[in-house]
Symmetry: C2
Subunit: 316 residues, 2 copies
């Protein structure tokens, strides 16, 4: 399976247009380097890392792979200035920014010869990315796990509209709801140049998520996730006792401050990294219902490529 003339592959100098989404508590150097070693683009998820931890992961990733990799920086977290400084100091060549404004960091990063991708939930922000000189746009649908936009546009409708608006200027990568090769063909048919896959890589051997979390995803059916905490920052997670407490508070008319107190600190770490399935925040996408095993990254990518070929043949 080769992707000749693919713009994502050319831009990042990778073999397959498969980006592993940056995910809190899942995508450290082990996952990122493994994806990059297998022909995709691995991303270290800076969202859950203190600056010094991020520096350590970047260094380990450089040792673990000779291939290109990147760092995902959700702009809503603290210490952004320090994180960007470390990224520049450590010579990271690719940065995916998300959950924020592409105007804030693109030109600074690009002045250090860093390729910049930005994640968007609608057409307007996609156009703004092009204006601000972003090299690639990831459009992420409502079905994606973790933090999510207010617009609730699904991957099926977001991709063709973003493609029509900006694909002549920069490559477009689709994210949200893609768990196998069928999903990859689907978004490529909609005009995407590549895919960003989160949940499927969160549940691999190399993911740093807790075994309890990975097993909980295996047990999840199609209706297990929900987009919640819309008053603070929308997040898609698996329903559990923690979610029920949020839901009850919302039904009782809780304001933002009450919800912030209920959320507290370290909920995602508790759920995803420490495996507390009742009281932790279990961020995962809607496609989790399709995930039935814990393979290696290599197995995931191999399967996607085989399914991709088979699906394209079936369509022809």
């Amino acid at each position: 399976m080769t992707f000749s003339n693919n713009r994502v592959c050319s831009l990042f100098n990778i073999q397959y247009p498969i980006v592993q989404g940056g995910m809190v508590w899942c995508s450290g150097w082990k996952l990122a380097s493994s994806v990059s070693n297998n022909g995709g683009l691995g991303l270290i998820g800076a969202g859950s890392m203190h600056p010094d931890v991020l520096r350590d992961h970047i260094r380990k990733c450089k040792t673990a792979t000779a291939n290109p990799f990147g760092v995902n920086v959700p702009l809503l977290y603290p210490d952004i200035e320090m994180i960007m400084q470390i990224i520049i100091e450590e010579g990271v060549e690719i940065v995916f920014t998300s959950a924020g404004n592409p105007a804030n960091w693109t030109s600074h990063l690009k002045s250090h010869n860093i390729k910049v991708a930005h994640v968007v939930p609608n057409v307007k922000l996609a156009r703004k990315c092009v204006e601000k000189g972003v090299d690639l746009v990831v459009c992420e649908g409502f079905e994606a796990g973790g933090h999510n936009g207010k617009d609730e546009l699904t991957t099926m409708v977001l991709v063709p509209q973003v493609v029509d608006a900006i694909s002549e200027y920069v490559p477009v990568v689709a994210a949200g709801g893609i768990g196998d090769g069928r999903g990859m063909v689907a978004v490529m048919a909609l005009g995407a140049d590549g895919v960003q896959i989160g949940s499927r890589f969160a549940v691999t051997e190399e993911s740093s998520a807790h075994e309890n979390f990975k097993k909980a995803v295996l047990d999840a059916d199609d209706t297990r996730t929900v987009l919640t905490l819309k008053q603070i920052t929308s997040v898609r997670l698996m329903k559990n006792a923690f979610y029920e407490s949020i839901r009850e508070a919302e039904l009782n008319g809780a304001d933002e401050q009450t919800l912030r107190q209920l959320l507290g600190k370290g909920r995602a770490k508790r759920g995803i990294f420490e495996g507390d399935l009742e009281n932790g925040e279990l961020e995962i996408g809607q496609i989790s219902g399709l995930i039935r095993d814990i393979p290696t990254v290599k197995q995931v990518i191999d399967r996607i490529l085989v399914e991709y070929s088979t699906t394209v043949k079936t369509l022809s």
Copy 2:
């Protein structure tokens, strides 16, 4: 463009696996017969019709096309018994039921040699359809216009999971977010046997929607629709003054009864059929942002088929 060995085409004896979704105030005999005359399957939307009006539309549709057509019956509306009686008396051969339980009507309709499809929002109900002897399952995603399920599964994640669960037993049609040939290829890649398209057909010459409504859809951008009234029955519509009043009431903690009073009667008729863009309910899907003209049904189907071929070639 031919779809040989396609299960939807075989089941309904049609040329293309393109079903026109039944839509209140849009899909009368004119739209349905035109879709059927152009090789798809037209559906009369019984949801907005009094029983005698439905009978009239069925008779006119039979006169206007010699090809198969069907009736869509949302099971949440009143007069269901009378509507089913008319469908049987008038010799309708295909019925799509939605917004309800497939156990209620499937066997009765099938005992009158009627082919039955049912619309589902999740895997569990898809399995139940198979158990109850439904001939075909439509799985409809969160992005679809009009009434929508509580599970909020998007087309991208719903289709492959429903396909994996039941496709060996009955054909699966995908609905929600499909507005052109790219979207059709996308869901076929996910394993669907065909598509059900609503919004794109709502904005055609043959649609009985008001010109104001059609033009409002042309002006809509990607973020114009919202899923609302979740306390009563979730419905996707365009944001307008009516929606703002609902939103404000909800923010003020309105209960179900207050919302029902605010909704009142005939809101969808007022918006879609009478063209009151401020005070009417403007039901349409998220893909409306992609709709930029008011073509004939023939033009829509021709375009979809051309785009379908082009997209498949690009993928190969």
